[in-house]
């Protein structure tokens, strides 16, 4: 059985605060990288990125973002003065506007579901903002995670991803050609 990986790249660069508006993504989480910190953020319906304090984040510091939901993943990388191309990955055709995006499909052999364990265990005494949970570990300190499920003491959170396998040469060798982040789960 073959599968298809759909990927769209924006035809022109755009700043980070426009990428959510330009895409059909809803109810998503984001991994944001700045020189100062690596943040997990919640993407709201109006396209704003919120931190664990509930406040919108200042997006001008971030040089790379991976925004993910169960349907698709958005990637953005700063190329020039805060502008970069947007790439969208999905398992199904999202019917995006071809004037804004160019579509590329890749034939796959299959996919694998993977799970990464996040650093830290739940600390119960702290009551964070709605929709967030706090993990902590002596080695790194605290890590706030956007998660609506409630956590019990010492429970851990995992990040689910999907690895796509495809043939890469004429000899039939199959490798992981792509990986998409899916969701955070207890």
């Amino acid at each position: 059985m073959t599968e298809t990986l759909y990927s769209w790249a924006s035809r022109s660069p755009m700043p980070l605060d426009q990428v959510v508006k330009a895409s059909p993504i809803q109810q998503a989480n984001a991994l944001l990288y700045s020189p100062q910190a690596c943040h997990l953020a919640q993407v709201q319906d109006d396209g704003k990125f919120c931190g664990s304090d509930g406040q919108p984040l200042d997006l001008s510091h971030y040089f790379e973002a991976r925004i993910f939901s169960e349907t698709c993943e958005l990637r953005w990388l700063n190329e020039n003065q805060g502008n970069g191309f947007l790439v969208i990955l999905a398992d199904e055709d999202l019917k995006l506007n071809s004037e804004t995006f160019s579509l590329k499909t890749t034939t796959l052999n299959s996919h694998l579901n993977q799970t990464y364990l996040l650093w830290g265990k739940a600390v119960p005494q702290v009551k964070p903002k709605e929709g967030w949970q706090r993990l902590a570990e002596a080695r790194i300190g605290k890590l706030d995670v956007p998660l609506s499920q409630s956590l019990k003491k010492d429970q851990r959170v995992s990040l689910h991803s999907r690895e796509y396998l495809a043939e890469v040469d004429k000899f039939g060798n199959v490798v992981v050609i792509e990986e998409r982040l899916v969701k955070l789960e207890v």
Binding site: Q36, S60, H61, R75, W76, G82, F85, R134, E137, A138
Partner: protein, 794 residues
């Protein structure tokens, strides 16, 4: 050190089961990790005493000074671990002593000795079978000095020194007083020591502590560093011209730059990635120009520092080079093939060259080649409860490290805008970069000391990056990766597809590139490498960096007109991601890759001649500094004498045994011979000589041996038993104080450290030398006699 000590390296050697750790000069030292750990332990005791328990403000201050220990935490902690502000480096012997010992192998060996030990069966009280062991011990009396820093400015910049310093000094001084023993077997009498902290002219911190210990200030809050940078600012652009500043880095202590961690071993890189120096750059130039901004705009590049070869940064060996497996290769300096230009020599097995660095191209000869031989250091974490290393708190772990004393070179490249901004603020801004810093893992103690010096800035065209692309060879383009290259594919994913690299290069150069097709030769030699690293500021690991390894190379055919200006720009600015950190450096059309007859070339072998040892021997003196002597403190002088004496004893023993082996020497020195199956004189007489020699103690004492000989001569019956003039010969040996030294003929130059050493030791060790020689000769004589008797009467 008041008793013999042993800080083990975790390994053994030959007959020794456990050897002591030695530094780059092959001398024992106290590793910073040992010192810090033992001082922390002392301070913990003081803090617990002052707080009357395990918690309280003094205990908190202890964590501020020495940092948190996340490995010991039993519950998740929301606060990130505090860094240590006390930074203690390794303690070494006196500099003058080290310099003198450097040139004398025998004395370096004599500083330590072999100590046997055995385990006792608790039930029988007897030695356990198979439990005999030999440990190396360093002789007592050593004085070792370490540098230490107390720097609040990074983590707690708002603290006022007047308020906290006396308390900190008090705690550390009291902690140092608590330390009485360190190193291995310290509960068996070894490693008894005293630590003194030199605070300069500040009075006695202990007296101060005694009066003020109950007014301890509150523990400060950790300051979070702010380095906000806006990507939308374009004031620093990377335009056409670049300025290059060559940086020379000399390692002052070993460097641990983690490549990956395998079990409890941290493997180390053999170069210094540019990213390790960015913090230093921020500190030195950050006041004058926004470094973060310059990095974000790609207007600043710090290349990787690689081993210096002929005053230039070494270049990673290109993978297109192959050496003859049996008799060739870069390390041997001959029979190296450039498989981009030369076909496979049929019938000769080739092996790809990997690792190591090459010097600049020299016509008609192979370029110089150097590798970094990484050192390995083993440490442990002691579990306080059981006072031993245990897996729960970390146990044993090893660090691979770049050794101290090596020189590396890197380049700082700045775009004209950044350079202009700097020049407006400071005239000679590059001089600001001269200094010392600490980089890599465990930099607060034992590792990471680097000294940085600066060459004169050059325009981009004069540098390594600018030179190579001059000769465009027959419409071919040869690319050599001077550092790892990270690229993104069309899904913004890290790519390892060569086509993605080709496309990116085509875009930069404005030409079409096609992989060269040549029969019997390669055109693409790529390897991939994954870099895992920890982002210190994030306090988290950073995503794996996946890219092509330095040393990869490609040969293209060009379609279209190649603009040399563009080629030079790419050579300077690099390609792909994270160029400011040293990634993405390329070299084009290097003569090494275009050379068609590399296999016929050899390396000139006169490259390493500069490393001749200094023959100017300097001795240590108690009194004066002259051309041939260095004045040292009294305790250092005393220790030098201890080492000397041990080396002399060893040399006397060895020489005496060697001399005693020959029957002719025995006859010429003592006049004793073997006649058939008989000893002349008989063994009973020789027994008498040995016994009387045992009383020989000092050169000045009334000589018991002479008296014995005189008494012997009075009795004819006995005198007759001694052949010829043997009794006179022995008398001469014990009365003429020079004779023994003439017979032994030791190499005093290699055995002496102090200016008056030879004369003093000849006086001190005279009796011992005579005893040793005569004893050895009588033993050898007896052995030969027994042999003669057995041959005759088997």
């Amino acid at each position: 050190m008041h008793s013999d000590w042993h800080v083990g390296s975790g390994t053994g050697r030959a007959e020794l089961d456990s050897i002591v750790q030695r530094d780059a000069d092959d001398l024992p030292y106290l590793p910073a990790k040992t010192l810090t750990g033992i001082l922390r332990d002392g301070c913990e005791q003081v803090a617990q005493a002052l707080d009357s328990g395990m918690t309280g403000q003094w205990n908190d201050w202890l964590k501020v000074l020495f940092g948190d220990q996340p490995a010991l935490a039993t519950t998740p902690l929301e606060d990130e671990p505090r860094p240590a502000i006390v930074s203690i480096h390794s303690a070494h012997l006196d500099e003058n002593l080290r310099q003198s010992l450097k040139q004398k192998q025998k004395l370096r060996t004599a500083i330590a000795f072999m100590k046997p030990g055995v385990a006792i069966d608790p039930e029988s009280g007897c030695a356990l079978n198979k439990y005999l062991r030999f440990e190396e011990m360093v002789r007592q009396g050593a004085v070792l000095t370490a540098e230490a820093q107390l720097d609040f400015s990074d983590a707690y910049p708002d603290l006022s020194p007047d308020e906290y310093l006396p308390f900190v000094q008090g705690l550390l001084t009291a902690g140092a007083k608590m330390v009485q023993r360190l190193g291995g077997k310290r509960r068996r009498g070894n490693g008894r020591c005293e630590i003194e902290l030199d605070w300069g002219q500040t009075g006695d911190p202990l007296t101060w502590l005694k009066d003020n210990y109950d007014q301890v200030p509150a523990v400060p809050k950790l300051h979070s560093e702010n380095c906000a940078v806006s990507l939308n600012d374009n004031s620093l652009n990377a335009d056409g011209t670049w300025v290059t500043v060559p940086l020379t880095l000399t390692t002052q202590s070993p460097l641990v730059l983690p490549a990956r961690t395998v079990g409890n071993l941290v493997e180390c890189l053999d170069y210094i990635p540019g990213r390790y120096l960015l913090r230093y750059l921020h500190k030195k130039l950050g006041v004058y120009v926004n470094i973060s901004q310059a990095i974000a705009s790609n207007a600043l590049i710090l290349t990787n520092a690689t081993r210096e070869i002929d005053n230039q940064p070494g270049r990673p060996t290109p993978f297109c080079l192959f050496g003859e497996k049996l008799d060739g290769g870069l390390s041997k300096g001959r029979n190296v093939y450039n498989r981009f230009q030369e076909a496979d020599p049929q019938g000769i097995q080739l092996k790809g060259e990997r690792g190591g660095y090459l010097g600049p191209w020299t016509d008609n000869a192979l370029p110089a080649y150097k590798k970094v031989d990484l050192a390995l250091y083993t440490h442990n974490t002691i579990n306080d409860e059981i006072q031993r290393p245990s897996a729960e708190v970390g146990g044993l772990y090893s660090y691979e490290a770049i050794p101290a004393g090596l020189t590396f070179q890197a380049e700082l490249r700045l775009s004209a805008t950044v350079q202009q901004k700097l020049s407006e603020k400071v005239n000679n801004w590059q001089d600001l970069l001269v200094g010392e810093t600490r980089i890599g893992q465990s930099k607060k103690d034992q590792y990471g000391g680097v000294e940085i010096t600066v060459g004169s800035p050059a325009n981009s065209s004069n540098t390594q990056a600018g030179k190579s692309q001059d000769n465009s060879s027959d419409n071919h383009l040869y690319v050599w990766f001077l550092s790892d290259v990270l690229m993104r594919g069309d899904r913004l994913n890290p790519t390892l597809n060569p086509d993605d690299f080709t496309q990116a290069l085509e875009k930069e150069l404005g030409v079409r590139l096609k992989l060269r097709e040549t029969p019997n030769c390669f055109s693409m030699m790529l390897r991939q490498r994954r870099t895992e690293s920890w982002q210190v500021r994030w306090g988290l690991p950073r995503p794996s960096l996946l890219g092509w390894q330095a040393g990869s190379c490609l040969a293209y055919e060009i379609e279209g007109n190649l603009d040399p200006e563009k080629l030079q720009q790419v050579a300077i600015r690099g390609i792909g991601d994270r160029r400011a950190e040293g990634y993405g450096q390329l070299s084009f059309n290097d003569p090494l890759l275009t050379d068609k007859q590399l296999s016929s070339k050899q390396r000139n072998s006169d490259l390493d001649k500069s490393q001749q040892p200094n023959s100017n021997v300097v001795l240590l003196s108690k009194n004066s500094n002259t051309q041939t002597t260095n004045k040292v403190p009294n305790d250092v002088f005393k220790y030098a004498r201890i080492i000397e004496k041990a080396a002399w004893r060893e040399a006397i023993q060895t020489k005496a045994l060697a001399l005693a082996e020959g029957p002719e020497t025995r006859q010429s020195v003592l006049g004793i011979t073997i006649n058939g199956e008989d000893s002349c004189p008989p063994m009973s007489q020789l027994g008498g000589l040995r016994s009387v020699l045992g009383k020989l103690r000092k050169r000045e004492d009334p000589n018991a041996v002479s008296t014995w000989i005189n008494a012997l001569k009075q009795v004819d019956n006995r005198q007759e038993k001694w052949p010829g003039k043997s009794l006179d010969q022995i008398k001469q040996l014990v009365t003429d104080t020079n004779q023994i030294w003439q017979i032994l003929n030791l190499d005093y130059k290699t055995l002496t450290l102090t200016d008056s050493g030879t004369a003093k030791l000849q006086a001190n060790l005279w009796a011992e030398a005579v005893r040793t020689l005569v004893d050895a000769m009588i033993r050898a004589h007896k052995r030969d006699l027994e042999k003669a008797q057995t041959t005759k009467n088997p």
